[in-house]
Symmetry: none
Subunit: 200 residues, 4 copies
DNA sequence: CATGAATGAGGCTTCATTCAT
DNA sequence: GATGAATGAAGCCTCATTCAT
C-alpha cells in the first residue's frame, strides 16, 4: 500500500492465485508442482514464497477465497426481499456455474477435511459453518413463513449444501446397453425434487 | 508344494488391502506412501508388490472392491419383492454405514475420475454405470407402479446416488454462536426429504 | 556323482547356465534378473543358489566356461600338423561362429575387467593369459618357420585376439548418402588383411 | 538478471559430465549410481536433473560428446594435405590417447547398441556412421592414389575403426611361466601390421 | 533337494523450499 | 522485492538373497 510507482503487491498475489486455481482445478494438489503454478503465473518459483508461506498456505488461501465468494453469493441472496422458496433455487443456480468452474478444488476440500495443518483446517471449518449459517437463516425464514415443512433447519441446510457437489450434466457408460448416456441434472431439476419430492 | 500348510495368499492380500483402505480413507492417495501401508499391514514394502503391480493398481483394486460391494448391496435389494419406495430407503440405510467407513476413498474416486491410467478409469466408470443401472431399474419400477413422479429415471438415480456422499452426523462450527453444533442427518431424514420434498 | 535314481546335478546346473547365457547375451548383467533366468531354466529362484553362490558367481561361471571352450578350440588347432599360417585363419573362422553367438557376453567381459570381485577377475585374467599363450605358440612357430615377420609374438597375438570382438556383418547408417549400408566383414577378409596388409 | 556475475551453466554441466565420465569409465552404466556421480561432481543428486533429463540422457550426452570429438579428430586429419597412408596412422596415434582414457565407455557403446531408448540409439548409430564415413573417404582416396589395395573401403574402415578398441600397453598374466607379462601394443605397431601384414 | 514368499537395501526421480545474487 | 539454481528428503519400485516349508 502506498508503494511508489504504481506497483501493487495485490495484483501479483492475485496472478499467482489465479494460476494456482486453474491448475489445482485440473489436477490434484500433489500433482500440481509449485514450479508449474509459477510458470503459469509468470513469476519465479521463489516469488511465490514471498506471498505465501508454503504451498499449503497457498492452497488454503484459494479455498478461503472461494468459500468467501460462495458465502458472499449466499449472503447477498439472503438479504433480498423475496420468499425463501425463491432464494434457495436462485442460490443453487447462481453458484452452480461458479462451482462448476472450481468443482475439483471443492471436492478436494471435503477429502482433505481431516488432514494435518490444524490451524487452516479449523478456519476452513469455520468458514463452512458461516456458509451453512446463511442457508439456515433462509430455511428458518421459510419455515417461519410456512413455506417449508418443519424439518430441523440445520439438517436441511446441510442436505441442501451437499447439492453443491452433485456433478451436473454427467456422461456415464451404461454397460448393458453398450452406449454412453448423458444424464442431464440441472439446478432446476434438483430444486424441483428438493421442494416437491418424488412421490406421486 | 512348499505353499502346503498354512499359507493363503488371499489372507495376506486382504491384510494389505485393509491397511491401505484404512490409510487411504484418512489421507489422499499421494499422501499415503506405500511404506506406511506396508508398516500398517505388517509386511515389507516389497511384499506389496508381490500382490499388486503398482501403487495405482492397489488403489484401483480397493475402489473396484468397494464399488462391487455397493453394487451387490443394491442388486440384492433390487431383487427383493417389495415396492420401490421401500427399496430405495433400505439401500440408503444399508450402505450408509458401509459408505461411512470408506467415505474419503469414495470421494477421491469422484475427484480422480478423469485422471491418467486410462484402463482403470474406464473400468471404474463402467462399474459406476452398473451401479447407476440398478438404481435406475428400481426407480423405473417405482414410476411404472405410479409410486414416483414421472421424472427422468437416470437423473433421479444420479441425484439419489449423490446422497451416498452426504456427510451424515456432522459436527460443524457455528461461529456466530460460538459453539459446535451437531447436525444429525440420518438416512431416514434424507429419504423423507427425497420422497416428500420440503414444501409445505 | 553316484546318486541313486539317475538324477544328475550337473544336468540341472547346465540348464541354469544355458538359460543364463541366453539371457545375458541379450541384455546387460544388471538388466538380467535372477528370476528371469530361473524361469527360463525352469527352476525356482532359490534353486539357483544351490548351484551358484551368487549371481556374480553364476556370471563368472559362464565366462569361465566360454573362455575354456575358446581355449579348447585354440588348443586343438594348435596341435594340428599344419602350418601356422593355416592355423590362425582356421581358428578365426571357427571361433567367429562361436563368438557370434556369445558376443555380448564377451564384450561385457572386457568392460568388466577391472571390477570388484578380485578373486574371479584374477581367474578370468589367467584364463585369458592361457588363451593368449596358445596363440603365441602358434605365432612363434610361424615366425620360426619364416612364415611370419619377426614381430613380437605376444603383441601380434594380442592384436590377433582383438579380432574376436570385431562385429562381423554390420549394418550401419551412412547419413550423407541417406541409406543403410551393409558392411560385410568376414573372417577371411580379416585374415587377408592381417596376413598381407593393405599396402599396394 | 540474477544469474549476473560469476555463474556459468556450462561449467557446472561439464563438472557433472566429467564426474560421470570418470565413473562410467570404471564401471558399468547400471553399476554407476547417480548419487555417486553427484558426489564426485560435488553437487546434490537433484542438481544433476537440472542439467540432464534422466540418467540415460546423461549417459548419451557423454557418448555423443566423445563421438563428436573423435569425429572432429578424424575430420581434421582427413582435410590435411598428406597422403592417406599418413592420415590413417596419424589418426590412430592421435586418438589412441584419447580413447585410452575413455575405453570402457566406448566399449559399453558397442555392447549397448541395440538397447532401449530408440531415439538416442539411432542418433548414436548415425554418429558412428559419420565417423565411419570420414575413414572411408580417407581409404577411398588411398585406393584411388594406388596407395592401398582395392579392398572394399567400408569393410576396411570398419576393421580399422575396431583398432580403436584394442587395449594398448596391456599387462597379462602368463600362467605357465608364472609371471606377469607386459604386452606393448603401440599405434605404430598396429599400423605397421595393418599396412604391411604379417606375412614374410 | 527344491520351492517361492518375503525381505529390505538401494536406485531413479520429483519437488517444496532456501538463499546468494 | 524478484529470481531461479541448488538442495536433499522422500516416494516408488526392483531384485538379489534368505529361509520356512
Amino acid at each position: 500500500m502506498a508503494k511508489s510507482k504504481g506497483w501493487n503487491p495485490e495484483i501479483k498475489r492475485q496472478k499467482i492465485l489465479d494460476a494456482a486455481i486453474e491448475i489445482l482445478n485440473q489436477k490434484e494438489y500433489y500433482a500440481s508442482p509449485i514450479g508449474e503454478i509459477a510458470r503459469k503465473a509468470g513469476v519465479a518459483k521463489g516469488t511465490i514464497y514471498l506471498y505465501f508461506k508454503s504451498k499449503e498456505e497457498l492452497y488454503f488461501s484459494i479455498l478461503f477465497m472461494l468459500m468467501d465468494k460462495v458465502w458472499e453469493m449466499a449472503d447477498e441472496i439472503q438479504k433480498k426481499n423475496i420468499p425463501a422458496s425463491q432464494k434457495l433455487p436462485l442460490f443453487l443456480k447462481k453458484h452452480s456455474d461458479f462451482i462448476g468452474r472450481y468443482r475439483n478444488i471443492f471436492l478436494s476440500v471435503r477429502q482433505n477435511l481431516g488432514s494435518h495443518e490444524k490451524k487452516c483446517q479449523q478456519e476452513l471449518h469455520i468458514k463452512f459453518g458461516e456458509l451453512l449459517n446463511v442457508i439456515i437463516k433462509i430455511i428458518d425464514e421459510g419455515i417461519r413463513k410456512k413455506e417449508f415443512k418443519n424439518y430441523p433447519s440445520s439438517s436441511l441446510a446441510m442436505l441442501y449444501l451437499s447439492f453443491m457437489f452433485v456433478n451436473m450434466h454427467q456422461k456415464v457408460d451404461m454397460h448393458d446397453k453398450n452406449k454412453m448416456m448423458k444424464i442431464d441434472i440441472t439446478p432446476k431439476f434438483i430444486w424441483d425434487v428438493f421442494l416437491g419430492g418424488i412421490a406421486k
